[in-house]
Amino acid sequence: GPRLAMGIFSVFVVNKAGGLVYQLEHYAPRAETEKTFSFPLELVLRPHDERLLVAFGQRDGIRVGHAVLAINGAEVSGRFTADGKDVLEYLANPAHYPVSIRFGRPRLSSNEKLMLASMFHSLFAIGSQLSPEPGSSGIEMLETDTFKLHCFQTLTGIKFVVLADPRQSGIDALLRKIYEIYSDFALKNPFYSLEMPIRCELFDQNLKLALEVAEKAGPFGPGL
């Protein structure tokens, strides 16, 4: 499209057992929609994983899969309003209308990130097992219409995963740079124990810097 949507969305580091040891949200394009509704609501909402999601009915930027984020400006916590009422019950009462509801894509919880990391760990292995050619690695790149996932697995089995805009280039170099930063700032930190979550300021700082440098390379490769 005409919109300049490029960049690096997030970084995951997965240990050789499939455990998430590091995660960074770099850039998340937010699209939230607020709309005032009268009774009855013309969307079907259903509870899913402690959230209230749009199950049917798309209008004015609200899409299936979007979660209820706030009611009358007050953030909801999961399926309950700020003052502890069940959101579905609240919206079933005509006396509460008109009501203003804010919708948006649900953010991943830390537990979901752990789950997704171990899910990718198995997908990576199955991708290699089902290979029609011998000697295949696991999934190195996975492409969708909204993002590309790039994965680099080290010889020791650690996976560096970068989610980026499909048009973003220079990711292979970035993955190797992240490996270098990991070796320099996580592994050489005397307080870091292997396979455990990485909590190290220098690693953070250098990683963020590397992401910014990679983004400057532009959507079609280094402009040199």
């Binding site: 969305f9 894509r105 969708t144 219409d145």
Partner: protein, 145 residues
């Protein structure tokens, strides 16, 4: 360039068809198990990417690649899934997978009242048409070296 193999799944995960042209490595499990593993992987990928995507998706999962092959994926709104493995040199072949669905599956399976849905496709005609369509693709032949 080359085409390794092709799977067609229905929306319930049943493998309707499997063809193989140039496959050097077998999965080391029975074909039935392999279909289940493949479907399970695709099903997990769909769920994985729908959570991972930072924005709302339209087409969803398109392909993945490893160091040796590329898996292309196409799903219709009715849940039929066409999966083709090729070498890494093949670009976006979404139109080709759509043609397999619309010119071959719809023509020779859906329009054949003797073909029952949701089970392995027995039709010889479908098999032959699919085989000659894939053999006619510009990226079919294995390049020497």
């Amino acid at each position: 360039m080359t085409v390794h193999n092709l799977y067609i799944f229905d929306r319930n995960g049943a493998c309707l068809h499997y063809s193989e042209w140039n496959r050097k490595k077998q999965a080391g499990i029975s074909k039935e198990e392999e279909y289940k593993l493949m479907y399970g992987m695709l099903f997990s990928i769909r769920s994985f990417i729908s959570k991972m995507s930072p924005v709302d998706m339209k087409d969803g999962f398109l392909s993945f690649q490893t160091s040796k092959y590329k898996l292309h994926y196409y799903e219709t709104p009715t849940g039929l899934k066409v999966v083709m493995n090729t070498d890494l040199g093949v670009g976006n072949i979404r139109d080709v997978l759509h043609q397999i669905y619309s010119y071959i599956y719809v023509e020779y399976v859906v329009k054949n009242p003797l073909c029952s849905m949701n089970e392995t496709i027995q039709s010889e005609l479908f098999r032959n048409k699919l085989d000659s369509f894939v053999r006619g693709l510009p990226f079919f032949s294995a390049r020497a070296g």
